[in-house]
Amino acid sequence: MSPDPALPRIPARLAGAEPGGAPPPAPPPAPPSAPPPVAARARPAPRPGRILLWTFGLLAILFLLAPVLAVLPLSFSAGSFLHYPLPGLSLRWYADFWNSDFWLPALWNSLRVGAGAALLAGALGTLAAFGLWRGRFRGQAVVMAVLLAPMVVPAIIVAVALLLFFGPLGLTNSFTGLILGHAALGAPFVVVTVLAALQQFDPVQLRAAAACGASPLRAFWRVCLPQIMPGVAAGAVFAFATSLDEVAVALFIAGPAQRTLPRQMFSGLNDSISLTIMAAAMVLVLISGLLLLAVTLLRRAR
């Protein structure tokens, strides 16, 4: 899954409000955030505009999902070749995935790295967003731009930079290095979702907390954080998803012990095309689907 969440809007004062500062990168174009409006039930004949909207929306979804939908049934093939029609249905490739020394450890690695990156990005991204929201300082827009850069800078560039930087520090071929790298890629999503959550938070509450005797740290922990938690969680889920389908950094930083699922798929393609790779792809899609569901539920909880 490519995590292109319906990004909440960045507050205007942060998004390049500072004159002279480097223009912050625009976040990647977000798909329309609202779900297609539900047609009113009582209406007998929907207006043409509505029909057009639905048609266009469904076409867009089809365009995005068609390749996935076309390929995934192959994972249930009883045969061993990448073509239709399927000779028969079976779960043999899933059994193969489950018993493989090549795929299963990679799945665990992916989940471990993803969880670590999500936690780290969640914590650091939240603090960064809070600081940007709270503070008034020179160069705010620049800080914002740097924080969001990994969202637009090509992954390969980040990967090369990390390799050169981590090498001397001994962080290549390590889980720590991979988690740090993925956290940097995921943090922008947290910054954006938390900033959006903070827009709903009344800063006078922090003064009220201080008047009650709470230190700034305590006020943040007890008063602010619980209220922006849905934003933090949504950001962390995006960070997890980013890590889950990331290949470039994994190729450069991960050693044999840290191979993640996408990275194995990448090398699996080179060697021999076994249909197990389709089963692996299905597993990834499934996890991504669950994450998407989690974000949707978080949205609703707000």
């Binding site: 907390a209 201080a210 009650c212 005797g213």
Partner: protein, 380 residues
């Protein structure tokens, strides 16, 4: 009660003292929000900061609460300079205009928060929360969320939250500004009664003069970052020290004129002669009016204006003749709009059922006791 309380505390040192405090947001060149503040708050009093919007009331409150830093001067709390103390260590209770209740906590948790922060053990916490809630008559609402309460109830919770840890002083910034009129009046009495029952020291900000008069032991009238007068409500109303205070607190007829004599008499009888622009000479109590020949304004409260259905010449030398322009019924009183000869207008207030009412259009005479006519320098 008020006079007694002040008498008792006159000797003791004030609870709060502002000493030459100034505050500029940003560069001083762009002006001071608080110009120069010397103000004592006595223990147990309810002191109101009254003034138009932008006059520096909130700034003064936030300086004491610690959310703003003074540019100059000192602020003492219980004799101690609190300049370096961050807000959460000052132990001052604050009620914000927007309530600022914590929406994710129950009402009881909101009130308990300051006790939780102070490490008060749970059983005692519960007891004190219950007592605070019953003080604001919301003891059965502890389990609710703030969003489930009405505006007036939320305001009372904010009050309970600010008082529960027994701070030496509670600051209230326009706490009733968002409530409708009836509820506002009810809350005024409630705050006043809490203040009296608990002997709480309060510093109260409002731009509503009626509210200030109802609630306060003393009122500081702010204008442009300065205190223009500091006095108990009655004195402020009856003896304003300048035209700004006279105009801002209560209603006033303002009659322009020229000073004609130096003050004569002593104390209450001290008076000057003023030639009103309409041509009548009247007596007035000089406040800050200048020397003979200078321009001034004579201010008279509508309720001090006597109206008689006889000609001015028969009533006495200080009476003015006027034509009754309009009688406006206002429920508990009627207002009489009276035109003086030169186009100036005087408003008089009369209780309903206060004798015969002349018909609009008739010639009447208008007079007042010189002790209730205040002469201010013009343009003040």
């Amino acid at each position: 009660m008020t006079a007694q309380k002040q008498g008792m505390n006159r000797m003791a040192e004030p609870l709060v003292r502002f000493e030459g405090v100034r505050k500029a947001y940003g560069a001083a060149a762009s002006g001071y929000a608080v110009q120069r503040l010397d103000l004592d708050v006595e223990k147990g009093e309810l002191l109101t900061l009254l003034g138009p919007s932008g006059s520096g009331k909130t700034t003064t409150l936030m300086l004491l609460a610690g959310f703003e830093m003074p540019s100059e001067g000192r602020i003492l709390l219980g004799g101690r300079d609190i300049a370096r103390l961050p807000p959460h260590k000052r132990g001052i209770g604050v009620v914000f205009q927007s309530y600022a209740l914590f929406p994710h906590m129950s009402v009881a948790e909101n009130v308990a928060f300051s006790l939780e922060v102070r490490g008060v053990p749970k059983p005692e916490r519960a007891r004190r929360v219950e007592r605070a809630l019953s003080m604001v008559r919301l003891e059965t609402f502890g389990e609710r969320r703030p969003a489930q309460l009405s505006g007036g109830q939320q305001q009372r919770i904010a009050l309970a939250r600010a008082m529960v840890f027994e701070p030496p002083i509670v600051l209230l910034d326009e706490p009733l500004g968002a409530l409708d009129k009836a509820l506002r009046e009810e809350m005024q009495y409630e705050i006043r009664s809490l203040h009296q029952r608990l002997g709480l020291t309060m510093m109260y900000v409002t731009h509503d003069q009626q509210e200030a008069l109802t609630l306060s032991d003393r009122i500081a009238v702010f204008e442009g970052g300065r205190i223009r007068q500091l006095a108990p409500p009655r004195r402020l109303y009856e003896q304003p020290e300048n035209a700004f205070v006279a105009g801002f607190v209560g209603e006033n007829n303002r009659l322009p004129g020229t000073v004609r004599s130096h003050p004569e008499g002593e104390g209450r009888d001290r008076a000057i002669r003023v030639m009103l622009d309409g041509g009548t000479e009247v007596l007035a109590r000089p406040v800050d009016a200048g020397a003979p020949g200078s321009r001034c304004v004579v201010a008279v409260r509508p309720e001090r204006v006597a109206v008689a259905a006889i000609l001015a010449s028969e009533m006495g030398e200080d009476a003015l003749s006027a034509r009754l322009a309009e009688v406006i019924f206002q429920g508990d009183h009627v207002r009489l709009r009276l035109s003086l000869g030169d186009g100036a207008e005087v408003v008089a207030k009369r209780p309903v059922g206060g004798g015969m009412m002349p018909e609009p259009g008739t010639l009447v005479s208008v007079a007042w006791d010189p002790a209730h006519a205040h002469a201010f320098a013009a343009g003040g």
